[in-house]
Amino acid sequence: MITQQVRNLGARAGRWAILGGLTIFLAFPFLWMLITAFKRTSDLYNLKHNPFVFYEPPTLEHVHRLFSDTLYGEWLLNTAFVGVLVVFITLVLAIPAGYALARLTGTWGEKLGIGIFLTYLVPPTLLFIPLSRVVVDLHLDDSLWSLVLVYPSFTVPFSAWLMMGFFKAIPKDMEEAAMIDGYSRLGAFFRVVVPISLSGILTVAIFSFTLVMQEFVYAVTFISSSRNLTVGVGVPTFLVHGDVYFWGSLMAGCFIASVPVAILYNFCVDRFIAGFTAGAIK
């Protein structure tokens, strides 16, 4: 009895040690962004100070400088612009494709699904070289439209895969009942399947948006003027000037661009996991 209790206590302590250690490892950079962003410059660069402690009162000077002296605000707007358009294109292409894969295309659809999955093997690091040429030929170089054109090439395959998983989880009877009531299959899809899949569609939208925020290689290749950058490229390339680092503003910029999206993402992560595993396991 007592050994059992001791053992349970040991298991719990072990679990919390693992959770604590790994959580600190994973979340620390974000805490560090937050601390750095609000420290006064004189406090930040004093080697005698404990870096975790505020010796002087917190300040908003870095955040202020970020929005008044740099193009950060425009980068955020650029990212939102590209993100919204790419999400729209992705949904228009991936929702019907996911439905076709789940219901209509039988065995060759299964092969096609694996084919779409395999486009992952052709990564941006292989495609950015020919695509940079295509973008120049279309006169889209240094334009946000080049990103709008190219980004669906990686959001669509993954989204179609996810949507397929969501649609497979819907009982077939629902559409069949609607079709008996006189709807065509397409009508049943729009009036019955799409409405009950709204949360799945929202998951795909948010997921595609985060993929757009993540993308780096295409943006750094296609865009040359600082005004047209997305936030993910602007912060590491233009806020870092040679060897001069404005760490306060940099960290403020990092925090603003990462944590709000993460909070949004957190609301749909369960559905994302369900879709991911449903797509992978029949």
């Binding site: 959580t23 950079p29 974000f30 292409l93 020919p130 940079s132 993540q214 944590v259 993460a262 396991i281």
Partner: protein, 315 residues
Amino acid sequence: MDSSTQIASAAANRAHNQRRAVSLLDSERWLGPLLIGPAILYIVLLVGVPFFMALYYSISDTTTGGGTQGFVGLRNFTGVVGTPKFQTALKNTFTFALISQAVILLLSNTLALALQKDFRGKRLIRFLILLPWVAPISIGTIAWLWIFDSTYSVLNWTLRMAGLIQGPGYMWLGVPHLAMGSIIAVHVWRQLPLATVILLGGLSSIPKDIHDAAAVDGAGFWRHYFQVTLPLILPISLVAILFGLIFTFTDMVIIYNLTRGGPYDTTQVLASLAFYTGIAGGDLAEGAAIALFLFPLLLAVAFGFLRVARRTEVI
């Protein structure tokens, strides 16, 4: 009477037209391709065509200036494969991918097991754990650049306070082996959340009776884990490793932002070398040849895993 027949015939007409349109859209032979067609077309135009362009570039002498596109056979490959720069990058690619995947596999299994049971504060912990994966990676690496800073490194400060080092501390990104270690640590940091989430999905899909049966049979923790849990989550782990390996072989953002391949090319991998040669150096042909070198590797990894996954009935 006249108008009512008109209405009736119009209605019949409309019904007829509708039925024709409906039957075309209803015949599953046409509806399927119609729904999936636009997506396939987009992928073919923006992934398929550029892929073959890359194949063509790699056997031509194209440059960013739009220079001649003469056929040069395998000269780009033979020319580049022998260079020390390429061989270092190839070796680094494997070191980087294999070590980071091994660490990720170990840590994600541990973390997923620790997260399996419900406890107070689990949602908050899960949010914190997911942060590195959700945040834009280029931005996350900038935080690490600050953590690894040569003068103000918080890591060095902590080690000094703990009495583990004296003096100014390590140059985390400036010394060959240490730089590779730092890059791997950041990569593990970035990929651990996704791997953990995938494994958690696998763990939660195991029926509870199986665990109960093992407990009744008196299996201890390790026996339970290795003989019950691990075999059941093996398929989904393979999916996690497949994603991880492909991602690791092709990613260059961490290296681009933290070390630019240095010091002395000790952290240069094929993906970053292709970028520096093809875009920064302007030699599209040689860049494409380096990037293409990755492709057979990825293909082999993917087919290997798909085979195993099929046999164990994933996908």
